[in-house]
């Protein structure tokens, strides 16, 4: 029971991170029908940006308060990562809209290869570790065979995720951008005829997706403390799995999918074998795509003949 509770807490923490990344996949897929293969690498890049900013703030500028540094890193990381996404969309995807169907996907794969190797070349092959922070731990159960703990980090991750998701939900539901976004999702050409700036809307979609991935990146580096240039691929695939599981195009689906994947992964590692935890995630992806391609909340995809 204690182990179960502990894994539940760990799983929800990990799942929040996956959910944040998954939103980027699901929004981009919803609006231009493309699997943004480079999104996982954008997440990895943001974790590196966060790592360097932390070091710069604490070592070069001598900021003593970790909490203060965290807030700055969070917002600066979101801004800088958004800039990357903006440029990537401009260079790698914009001109390919309306080209043959696989062109954007191949371009995205190229972008993914480019980003991970760029970081490798610029920052070197080794794992980069940050000194641990926010180390306080709450003990939830006491005296049993096993103490269930909830760390400040975990509270932080879940609450930051919740607050940002609420803000993001507000943007998509209530603002004119959100309306334009949903209009483009339904029918881009029609939206353009009605005066929606489609280019700008798509650009903003990429930027928002990347900003949320950057939040995930900052939280990831705080939680795990280690990042490597190859670390974009697997979390990216898991987040994509989350998006597919939740139903591509559905925002609540992406978050729920992220939580599910996080839970499956932690429970799998705890009860079965941590060697095969990635196999479990990949298998969920395959099984979902084959048997339930519209996911939990997605619209069924009726083949147009």
């Amino acid at each position: 029971m204690e182990i179960f509770l502990q894994q539940l807490i760990n799983g929800v923490t990990l799942g929040s991170i996956y959910g944040l990344i998954a939103i980027g996949y699901t929004m981009v897929f919803g609006i231009i029908g493309m699997v943004n293969f480079a999104h996982g690498d954008v997440f990895m890049l943001s974790a590196f940006i966060a790592l360097i900013l932390f070091l710069a703030l604490t070592q070069l500028l001598g900021v003593a308060s970790v909490a203060f540094a965290f807030v700055i890193v969070l917002f600066a990381g979101m801004a800088l990562t958004s800039l990357w996404a903006f440029v990537i969309e401009r260079i790698a995807y914009r001109r390919l809209r309306g080209s043959f169907r696989l062109a954007p996907l191949i371009s995205a794969i190229g972008m993914s290869i480019f980003l991970s190797n760029l970081v490798y070349v610029l920052q070197g092959p080794r794992n980069k570790a940050l000194p641990p922070m926010f180390n306080d731990v709450l003990r939830l159960t006491d005296g049993g065979a096993y103490d269930v703990t909830l760390s400040v980090k975990q509270i932080m991750i879940v609450s930051v995720t919740a607050v940002l998701l609420a803000g993001f939900w507000f943007i998509v539901q209530k603002t004119s951008f959100g309306r334009a976004q949903r209009a483009c999702e339904q029918d881009g050409r029609m939206a353009a005829l009605l005066g929606v700036d489609v280019d700008r809307t798509i650009s903003l979609t990429f930027v928002i997706g990347a900003a949320l991935a950057a939040v995930a990146g900052v939280l990831y580096i705080v939680y795990y403390g280690v990042i490597n240039s190859g670390d974009g691929f697997v979390p990216g695939v898991k987040a994509f799995t989350a998006a597919v599981l939740g139903g591509v195009g559905s925002l609540p689906g992406a978050v729920l999918g992220g939580l599910l994947i996080g839970l499956v992964e932690t429970f799998w590692a705890a009860y079965f074998s941590s060697d095969y935890k990635d196999v479990a995630a990949f298998s969920i992806l395959v099984v979902t795509l084959i048997f339930m391609p519209s996911g939990l909340f997605g619209r069924p995809d009726v083949e147009k003949v």
Binding site: P300, V302, E303, V305
Partner: protein
């Protein structure tokens, strides 16, 4: 109008739903061999859905779609009434049954490619679907795929050796014949995607004919054609029926075409059949006029009255 021809396609209680939307609702109709049967009705009446059920692209929710295919070499030998055998086939789990002089099929039990291959149902699409990057000739050669690959065990043939040569020559002859028939023989080596619109429509019909069908299903073949092209299309379809022994099921909005060629007209509205009869009967049908007055333009009504 000759109403004594044998039934070719029998649709019974066909129902197709998408989520809550009922696109086709318990539809019954019969198309007879050697006739042109037109399906008309306002937009969203369920015509294309019906086509997709007949050709196996959609799996219908309920109902029966039965088709008879007389043997091509002895067209006269097939019996006119096969209802009894059909009931027997329906009770079994089989997909087809051999009869004297032909074969009957239950299309709802078959996969789309089998419906073309075994039951001989070919179709065209509302938005033309050609192999645009392949040449006109290649389009017609692909249509003869099943005849070209020959027996299942002829691996050498599959790679283009052996007996394949003779089969390929025959396929080129067939292609040449149909290209000549639709006036595209001089453009055989051009990319299909480079043809003008009207020629693409004709090519799609030629390609469907190259599969040697018993039943040809045409989804709005006159859409986007100019009056001269529609006129040529009318002549072509009549000649397919009369000279090539093909029965035609056609969806068409152009009433002048429908009235000129149809032996039998079925009118759908909101997934339900509202009228069924000869072109002349339909013209005077109250329900049809009412359904059409709501949506169609004056020209259509004029054409129906003409």
């Amino acid at each position: 109008m000759a109403r004594d021809k044998a039934p070719l396609l029998i649709v019974d209680q066909l129902t197709m739903r998408f989520g809550g939307l009922c696109a086709v609702d318990a539809l019954d109709f019969t198309a007879r061999g050697g006739e042109i049967t037109a399906l008309i009705g306002p937009n969203g009446a369920g015509k294309t859905t019906l086509f997709n059920c007949v050709t196996g692209f959609y799996r219908s929710c309920a109902g029966r779609i039965a088709l008879a295919r007389p043997d091509p070499d002895s067209p006269g030998a097939f019996r006119a009434d096969w209802r009894e055998e059909l009931e027997e086939l329906t009770r079994s789990t089989r997909r087809s049954a051999r009869l004297e002089g032909g074969e009957i099929f239950l299309l709802e039990r078959m996969a789309d490619f089998e419906i073309v291959k075994r039951a001989g149902v070919a179709r065209t699409f509302q938005n033309i679907r050609l192999f645009r990057g392949m040449t006109v000739l290649e389009n017609l050669i692909v249509a003869q795929h099943n005849r070209l690959i020959g027996p299942a065990l002829d691996l050498a043939g599959r790679l283009g050796f052996g007996a394949y040569r003779a089969r390929e020559r025959a396929a080129i002859e067939t292609a040449r014949f149909w290209l000549d028939r639709v006036g595209l023989i001089d453009r055989a080596d051009e990319a299909a995607g480079a043809l003008p619109y009207g020629a693409q429509r004709r090519l799609e019909i030629a390609r469907a004919m190259a599969t040697a069908p018993t039943l040809l299903c045409l989804d709005e073949p006159a859409a986007g054609l100019n009056p001269r092209e529609s006129h040529e299309l009318t002549a072509l379809l009549l000649s397919l029926r009369d000279d090539h022994d093909v029965s035609i099921l056609i969806i068409e909005h152009d009433m002048s075409v429908v009235m000129a060629i149809s032996d039998h007209v079925v009118v759908l509205d909101h997934g339900v059949k509202i009228a069924d009869g000869t072109a002349r009967d339909i013209r005077q049908d109250e329900a049809v006029i009412k359904a059409y007055l709501g949506v169609a333009d004056e020209a259509d009504i004029a054409a129906m009255g003409a």
